[in-house]
């Protein structure tokens, strides 16, 4: 019963996390920051604006991206198979890429191109994480992973590789070249307006919920370790965001695949010997 309520309120919880993060980032830059409920005020304003439909496939694919991401979060809360979750998440990202290629704007094409290149960088690491969980527990089911003892001690290098892909998913420096708003003016989001842009904005909130739920999985059945991990990673991601610039796509792929994939493979090979 409580799971149904959590699934229904998932976008609102994501919006509160996003609003809190904007205030924390502003305080780190010595400014005051917006009110915490600012994402909801933005939503009310966007509903009033005029919505242009460029072509019907573009708008429908944008809505499908949001719906699929909500289904992914629902599966994680209900405790389904982790490998299905990873592949459904890949499907939702593909919807956005095809929507980006279906219009004639040049910024949209370049943004979709960069999104496709970033997917090459983070998908292998997500799959390695799922394989690492399987090798310890013998099953891909999330409900069984939650009952086991903390996995952080036997998967430290996989945890480090997972930390490296968090800035790519949450669109933060140094790895936020897919939504570089000074260079390509938002990338794929540029042709959405009005209520359709609201769907993309809400799917950003759902990404936050998804990443933090996956992070809590590393803690197993210990609630205190889960809380400590979430708050620690929240502060660490924002501190790194405020002290680095944005690096280009070719450097991103070299660093993330070169270091991240090597670390996780070393960890998995070490596990098979123990």
């Amino acid at each position: 019963m409580i799971e149904i309520i959590l699934i229904a309120l998932a976008p609102i919880i994501g919006g509160l996390i996003y609003g809190l993060e904007r205030v924390v980032r502003a305080r780190m830059q010595n400014r005051k920051g917006p009110p915490i409920l600012q994402p909801f005020y933005d939503m009310l304003k966007l509903i009033d604006k005029q919505a242009f439909i460029v072509n019907p496939y573009h708008s429908i694919l944008g809505i499908m991206h949001f719906v699929t991401l909500w289904v992914v979060v629902a599966f994680v809360i209900l405790g389904q198979n982790l490998l299905y979750v990873v592949f459904l998440h890949l499907l939702s990202a593909l919807f956005l890429i095809i929507a980006g290629f279906s219009v004639k704007s040049i910024y949209s094409h370049i943004g979709a191109n960069r999104e496709l290149q970033a997917m090459i960088a983070y998908e292998p690491i997500l799959i390695m994480t799922a394989v690492g969980f399987y090798m310890i527990n013998g099953s891909f089911d999330i409900s069984i992973i939650r009952e086991s003892s903390p996995l952080l001690l036997s998967l430290p290098l996989v945890f480090l590789a997972f930390l490296m892909i968090i800035p790519i998913k949450l669109k933060k420096s140094p790895f936020d070249a897919t939504e570089a708003h000074q260079e390509i003016v938002g990338g794929v989001e540029i042709e959405y307006s009005g209520i359709f842009f609201e769907f993309l904005y809400m799917s950003k909130w759902l990404e936050y919920v998804f990443i933090y739920l996956l992070l809590i999985l590393f803690a197993g059945n210990s609630q205190i370790l889960g809380a400590v991990l979430s708050v620690g990673v929240f502060l660490l991601v924002n501190l790194v965001d405020n002290s680095t610039a944005r690096i280009k796509m070719k450097h991103l792929i070299k660093i993330v695949l070169g270091i991240g994939l090597t670390l996780s493979m070393i960890n998995l090979i070490g596990l098979s010997y123990v």
Partner: protein
Amino acid sequence: MLTSFFKAFTNLFKKPQTIDYPVTSIEKDKEYRGLIEYGESECIYCLKCEKACPPGAILFVPVENPPKNEKNKKGLKYHYNPHLCIYCSECVRACPKPEEALWQSNKKPPIGIKDDKVNDGWFELEKLKKV
């Protein structure tokens, strides 16, 4: 990179640099360039301020009921437009009696809103001047 990292962390505990304007008001000091003010009783109607003003924000125009001053031979009245003025105080420097007839205060200039049509009355005065 590490200095930025630690600076970002310590900034979380300091007071932010933002001023909460207009909830808190800002005090301007006495040297601020504000509105030009006029003392009619001391004016000698030499018209030097009107010649010195670059955008033409001071006009002396003949009217029916001029102010009673023995130096006012031609029946003129002083008009000032705060929306054309650039607050450079050239008029104050050109006046022979700078602290008594014409001086610069530190009050904030008014805001010009398009619906108020602030310049329409001024264009009428300029036409009177050309005639």
